[in-house]
């Protein structure tokens, strides 16, 4: 599991690569929280297009970061066009409250 974080104006761009399960999400969560809590950004953009696996632990991770952004009066959006991952996000009701774009460029253009 790899994680890349980058600030772009008011947004923290978080790119996840590899397999996102309960094991890897613990570590990812700590790293995102450590960064985001001291960063001046208030929105989070999660790029899931390089994930090769995600189960419902990923849903928990995203929900949690959605709340962190809310606490800073920001919001969270997702970049993903992987059918299987979108299906799990949809099933979990996340897409009712979180905006989804097919890729990072489109997500950033629409922030």
């Amino acid at each position: 599991m790899f994680l890349e974080m980058e600030e772009l104006e008011n947004n923290l761009i978080v790119k996840l690569k590899g397999e996102l399960d309960h094991h890897s999400s613990e570590d990812i969560r700590k790293k995102i929280d450590a960064y985001f809590s001291t960063s001046s950004t208030s929105n989070i953009v999660m790029d899931l297009n390089e994930l090769t696996f995600m189960d419902s632990s990923g849903v928990g991770l995203i929900m949690g970061r959605y709340r962190s952004a809310q606490e800073k009066n920001g919001y969270l959006i997702i970049a993903c066009d992987k059918e299987r991952i979108v299906r799990i996000l949809d099933m979990s009701g996340l897409l009712k409250i979180i905006k989804l774009y097919p890729n990072l460029d489109t997500a950033i253009r629409n922030i």
Binding site: H22, S25, F53, M63, S92
Partner: protein
Amino acid sequence: MDKNYMKLEFLSKSANESFARVVVAAFASQLDPTLEELSDIKTAVSEAVTNAIIHGYEYGEGVIIIEAFIVDNLINITIRDSGKGIKNIEEAMEPFYTSKPDLERSGMGFTVMETFMDSLVVESSEGKGTVVRMTKEIKNLSDEER
């Protein structure tokens, strides 16, 4: 593949979640599943193993047992823990129900298993442990259909 069987025991460590997925996927691949079918199986196994670690053993030491049977093109997977068990199975299986929202659980584990597998049966007894039984038929698509 006519018939095959395997049984895997391992410690309830979260590092073993991906190991369990690889093992079941390698076994299931004898049925020549599509990548989609293989991902369905991996996802369901991941949910059940994660539940055994988090809810069954509550991060404590324990042993998780996975059994898998192949009969013709059906795979039958059982995931078992000897952990705390589930009081109300019906409630537990409802979408969004989780007993550990503080741990950022979504309550979607059983729903994911049900969606990605053909059948799901959960047996549990408080203080004794939980057994999750799942089956999936591998369609054996021809190359053109894939």
